[in-house]
């Protein structure tokens, strides 16, 4: 593989993303985990820029690094976390989970790298503009777009109804 700017940028962003995710698993305080995960989301936005999806990168920063992280921090602050300073012991359950997930990852990586379907030389790359995305979104995928808006409305009302304090009778 030749070393060029895209490779270096991919390497940096992927190391940041995986590092943030590993930190999220290993840290003990919940708020630190939230910050590590926000960092991972930010790195994934950088990967979207590399993949010729600048609109998705902006959306990723707005929705994930901004909205979802803040929502989760609200969830953390509205609940109590008593035993978060204790280091959790390494149990049999964790060992089995590690083995299972490791096996899954090994199988997936093996399939990705041995399949000649993907690795026949340098594939042709298509360049997209944001206008193409808008045309596809509002012409081809018009009905799913409207259905998504209804879904968001339902989720909004559902979240309010679920989180509302029940009246005492």
């Amino acid at each position: 593989m030749n070393i060029n700017g895209e490779f270096i940028a991919f390497f940096i962003f992927s190391v940041l993303a995986i590092g943030g995710a590993v930190f999220m698993i290993n840290l003990t305080r919940v708020m630190h985990m939230a910050l590590a995960l926000a960092f991972t989301f930010f790195s994934i936005a950088g990967l979207y820029v590399l993949l010729d999806a600048p609109f998705l990168a902006v959306i990723q920063i707005l929705i994930y690094t901004g909205a979802v992280s803040i929502l989760m921090i609200f969830g953390i602050m509205l609940t109590k976390h008593k035993d978060e300073d204790k280091v959790a012991p390494f149990t049999v359950h964790k060992l089995l989970s590690l083995l299972g997930v490791g096996g899954f990852l090994a199988i997936v990586i093996w399939i990705i790298y041995r399949n000649p379907f993907f690795s026949t030389g340098e594939p042709q790359a298509a360049a997209f503009k944001v206008t193409d995305l808008g045309k596809a979104m509002f012409k081809t995928y018009m009905i799913p777009f409207e259905v998504t808006s209804i879904l968001l409305l339902v989720a909004l009302i559902g979240a309010i109804v679920l989180a509302k304090r029940e009246e005492k009778k």
Binding site: E6, A17, A21, V22, M24, I25, V30, M33, L37, T40, I44, L47, L51, A53, L56, I59, Q60, I63, Y64, A67, V68, L71, M72, F74, G75, T79, K80, H81, E84, A88, K94, L98, V101, G102, F104, L105, V108, I112, Y113, F118, S119, P123, Q124, A126, F128, D132, L133, A136, T140, Y141, P144, T148, L151, L152, A155, L156, A159, L162, A163, R165
Partner: protein, 101 residues
């Protein structure tokens, strides 16, 4: 750059998220790990949109829908978590066992 690097990165992130979902006892962290898994899948979609056999903008559109649905899922998940916390007084996922037979 070819597509295998992106697919491998997405697989690694997905596996880390899966490990978090299985092992974390804090319900907030389980929700976080689910978000990480959804993000890994989005990387796959965008990578196929650029480097797939048939490059197409549809991958990015699907990714946008996926982000919208993930945001709705996060909002409803936090609402359910707060309702559960109000009733049970804890965020430990192991303690939510009132549906156990």
């Amino acid at each position: 750059m070819n597509i295998t690097s992106y697919l491998a990165l997405a697989a690694i992130l997905f596996s880390i998220g899966l490990y978090g979902v299985i092992t974390k006892r804090n319900a907030v962290m389980v929700l976080f790990s689910i978000e990480l898994m959804l993000n890994a899948v989005n990387i796959n979609l965008v990578a196929f949109a650029k480097y797939g056999i048939f490059p197409s903008i549809s991958g990015q559109v699907f990714s946008l829908f996926s982000i919208a649905i993930a945001a709705a899922e996060a909002a409803v998940g936090i609402a359910i978590l707060i309702a559960l916390y109000r009733n049970k007084g804890t965020v430990e996922a192991d303690k939510y066992n009132s549906m156990k037979g």
